[in-house]
Symmetry: C2
Subunit: 342 residues, 2 copies
Amino acid sequence: MTPVHNSRVLFNKIPTGYPIPGETTVYDDTPTIDLDNVALNGGVLLKTIALSIDPHMRGKMRDASIKSYSAAYEVAKPLSNYGVAKVLRSESHKFQPGDFVVGLIDFEKYTVRNDVDALLLINNKFNLPLHSFLGACGSRGQTAYYAWREFVKPNPGDTAFVSTGAGAVGAVFVQLAKEAGYKVIASAGSEKKVEFLKSIGTDVAFNYKTEKTADVLQKHGPVHIYFDNVGGETLEAALSNMADFGLIIACGMASGYNSAPYHVKNLMSIVAKRLTIRGFIASDFHGKYRDEFFQEIPPKYAQGHLKIMEENIIGLENAEEAIVSVQKGTNWGKVVVIVADA
Amino acid sequence: MTPVHNSRVLFNKIPTGYPIPGETTVYDDTPTIDLDNVALNGGVLLKTIALSIDPHMRGKMRDASIKSYSAAYEVAKPLSNYGVAKVLRSESHKFQPGDFVVGLIDFEKYTVRNDVDALLLINNKFNLPLHSFLGACGSRGQTAYYAWREFVKPNPGDTAFVSTGAGAVGAVFVQLAKEAGYKVIASAGSEKKVEFLKSIGTDVAFNYKTEKTADVLQKHGPVHIYFDNVGGETLEAALSNMADFGLIIACGMASGYNSAPYHVKNLMSIVAKRLTIRGFIASDFHGKYRDEFFQEIPPKYAQGHLKIMEENIIGLENAEEAIVSVQKGTNWGKVVVIVADA
């Protein structure tokens, strides 16, 4: 068979603020691949179906000499993130042609992978759309679910506060908290997101751009659990309105990803209120909770009992703009780039 | 019997920086008390023997409308803090004349107390100096011991970092960590304190005024447990040098008590390193650990196996200056004001 184009999105230059399409990243349509004959060396040939676009990608656009929990993107190599792919050919006993897998996938149309243990077979018994394994039924849902399971001793009637509540992670956390009998306060950055938060049962949903977080928390708190995805000024407002012995799950500090971090001024509240803060990265807990997650969450999602806002962007050539929109928060739902039909 | 003077130290005015003797506090020699005839109403008459002077007293010199874990001092009323007192008369079945008690005691020579349940009988079977029940064998030792017991799962060979390591709380924590097989890094503010830290087995003792904490931690870390009594810049240095999954016990943030707090810039380390931070106030744990504390610590102290630097100031009239020295860190040991002979 004639080689086909194997388009990809390359990391090109470390950004100082928001990433810039064409500068920070480059869409490269030049490579080709011979799908029938490319050597697999015991691995698999994947066709990329969908790629997740997430806030934490910004943290990987850094100087590789700066250590962090997640490796930096390498200049002149493709970006990568959670993705769903179809197995076209396989020399591994783990996968058959036609299988769908989820894992960290490069931003290119076709990929040969030899690290087959890093790929997870999708058992799609509820016939869900494949992109859902990147959202509620994938890494986003896992982040919320693992955090809930690992750190929360549910106490019905307590109050939970979720920042970026309309994001996929936040929305799943909101719904887990509601199911457990919590009063839930959640913030988002647009009226549309606030409406969504109300539709999934959030008791107090507000737009942090038009209402001060500190005021809302003072009125509706104190907060027993704060699920923090933004840090900065929102964390400061939460610290001032935590209940004694409250818990803060520090899942991300997106407010500082593209600009100088806001410096929290009231850390003494940690002592005065005997707070617990738990830094959290979901991937630490796959071994502990992933099986339970797949038993519990996909059926809820299939039945409509667990919802997130979903925003599918068609075409790998639009991935760069999708990355920017997620960093700026101008997206309105969980962003997935649909690279190809299954 | 003729009434005697009942000197006291009154809280007079909320300070903006360090407390100022004669302005923030006032020594008042005018009251008198008739020790034989003062009405007890079922309570006890105490003679104050010794009063502890601690950093956290600054936090109580605030506007009473500002809520915190510990009540604000009331203007025109005596200061109070941990103290040892002798029971002179008793109408309570809990105490006999001649008993010694420890508890929160007003800064005055004699006190009638009706809340006898707030006082603890001292069982001094090792015949220790009474002021030790305010230091290693009292609230200071309890703070370190309770924190250790509640939060640390000992892992010999790990590294602990203790700020204000030569203070009574820090020194007890250092010795508990050494006993458990930790490598211990500890900071203090003078060469004399550094010498003391070395004498109790600290592996890396340094003067934070002449060496940068961040440099020392980078060289001798990473840090698995940070016992934080100062917050601010030291906390920032620790965050940058914590091991993944490390623990920070937030016991106090003295660096911000007398001046605007330093704003920690690297809170994202909490997420990236999956740190746990536990805000901690010792008095929450008396019920859980106090009995064990009194079984374990006084014998060690009596045998010389647990040491702190001790600085006794003679005379209640010198309490105000003692308070300032503890806030400024110009004291060289655990400060106790000896009010009277036993």
